[in-house]
Symmetry: C2
Subunit: 345 residues, 2 copies
């Protein structure tokens, strides 16, 4: 029983133990493990010992010796504990994760409230070759976080921030959200809308600001000079959006509601429906992201499609290149978005 317990919890075998078991030197085992040239019959003995002792290389020792972590960290600022449930974030992380895995790099993931960003465990220690970040919060806070990242003296990828890369250590990867806003604005202008209400969460995201900005540009440049109002919502949650929209619509029904994300657009649609408004006849609705929600509703949503997975993958490619070559080939990458017209506008 005590023996069995020891059995279960025993420390992993080391190179030295394998070497003793196989009757060779530590270096020979190391060479076998790393595929260096070793006499076949020696290799066989060593392989047998490795299998028998269940040897697995100790990454900490290897990282220390090589001064390389084979690891990237990503810190995601968000007030929602369910930060990975955001369909945009989950796709960026999936793309990044898969690319890194394909090269045998590890990905460390940490979500953290924007207020505590700089305290993220991952940032306080040297444990990754490079870092990735998704920022949110007021512009000034994000700028401070960016400066903090810069001071770490490590390669960093920042997703979805519109500022240009401030130094050779930092690369920015984003999609053209302003263009997305413009496309939507032009689309609505063609529909002869007179006024637009932009719904955005209280928590500030650079991408949302860009979307709003692009929308405003397109509307103001349209032939009819369409009016744009913006409405803050306490959070992106269905309840909050629904409740705000339900309070606003009786006061005035705009020509269209554009929400910062599709999930917010769905909630707006539901609020309109609950009040007996016909979409798009009485009120048009549109959102951003284009993952799958747009087609869950009736009518289906007009949206702007995000290349979120591809952003994550591109971030992975750039960061690994940076780790290996010592420099970023591109410091500012902007991926294209596309308007996808649905039935809601």
């Amino acid at each position: 029983m005590s023996a069995a317990k020891n059995q279960e919890n025993k420390a992993p075998a080391t190179l030295r133990q394998v070497a003793e078991a196989a009757g060779v030197s530590v270096m020979t085992v190391s060479n076998v493990v790393r595929g260096k040239s070793v006499r076949p019959e020696t290799r066989e003995r060593v392989d047998e010992a490795i299998a028998r002792l269940r040897y697995r290389p100790n990454t900490s020792a290897r990282r220390l010796r090589l001064a390389t972590q084979f690891s990237v960290g990503i810190v995601i600022a968000d007030t929602d504990p369910n930060y990975l449930a955001d369909p945009f974030i989950s796709r960026v992380v999936s793309g990044l994760s898969n690319y890194l895995s394909s090269l045998d790099y590890t990905l460390d993931v940490q979500g953290i409230s924007p207020a505590r960003f700089e305290n993220a465990t991952i940032l306080g220690k040297v444990g990754n070759d490079a870092l990735c970040a998704i920022l949110c919060g007021p512009r000034e806070l994000r700028r401070r976080h960016l400066a903090h990242l810069e001071r770490l003296g490590q390669p960093v990828i920042v997703f979805q921030e519109a500022l240009p890369s401030p130094s050779r250590n930092i690369a920015m990867v984003r999609q053209d959200d302003a263009e997305g806003g413009r496309l939507l604005g032009q689309h609505l202008a063609r529909k002869k809308i007179r006024s637009v209400l932009f719904l955005k969460p209280l928590l500030e995201w650079c991408a949302v600001e860009q979307r709003e900005h692009g929308l405003k540009m397109a509307l103001s440049q349209s032939a009819h000079n369409i009016e744009l109002d913006s409405q803050l919502v306490p959070s992106e949650s269905f309840e909050d959006v629904m409740s705000v929209v339900t309070q606003m619509l009786p006061i005035r029904v705009p020509g269209a509601i554009v929400a910062a994300t599709d999930s917010m657009a769905v909630a707006a649609l539901k609020a309109a429906e609950a009040m007996g408004l016909q979409v798009p006849k009485d009120l048009m609705i549109a959102g951003f992201n284009g993952f799958d929600f747009w087609r869950y509703t009736r009518p289906t949503l007009t949206t702007v499609v995000s290349p979120a997975y591809e952003m994550g993958k591109l971030g992975g490619e750039l960061i690994v290149e940076r780790i290996r070559t010592g420099r970023f080939s591109r410091r500012n990458s902007v991926l294209q978005v596309a308007l996808q017209a649905g039935q809601s506008s």
Copy 2:
């Protein structure tokens, strides 16, 4: 320029460099960093040097010395590259991640196809104190993966697998999916349905099997002995589900379609709608998960609510307890689910 470049890419400062800069020994700096008692005026000098040199502890060295990784890995088997976009998985990982972060543990995340599960980078090296896994694929394959995890000789949490824990190193954490199926079956029985079609993805998940099993039990035990058919769908994607349902309905309209997940239920609903069927009058529909999709549709979906975030958190609590105390306090945990009736059935 060359100096600037060196500045940017220079190796992180070490304890030794800080010690020299502050004119003290390495041990004193180490004591300062770890909050051990140090003379205030010494501490001040050291703190200044730490700030000036931007010192951050090297985790590899610390892990090696302490033979502790302060890190947990999670391997997620899925054929979808966008594995984190699954709303269930993203919530489990969020809950796990936040709990671990709160204790300054790192979380390594890797998605991998079930066929390649045992080759996951994370599993092949000693780099985490413990591992978590979400399995899928045929039962025999999952059993093999479980055996592989057991052989690693490390603490492991397996989510959403119905087998009992096979050893002291492995704890199972799941929700009561069979009960969820039963609740849904009883609900439908009350609606006087005559037949039910269960929609499930080709890729096998233990949770889906459990849901199907519970549903079958409840239906067969009902007063009217309701018939249950199951229909495989190539994938969980909207297109695949919609296309299969669109092909099936003209042949025969069941009393209800129960889908393995809400997103599949939405697609079934859309297919029914496209064919002019009234839900729930002509056909009832229900799903599983209860995240937010259930209310995106018209009519809203009947669903079984999952405590996915809580499962992730519980997994974190158990694994940390196991790391620290050497044993699991519970090896088999089953969280409760709840039926949430919507308009669709």
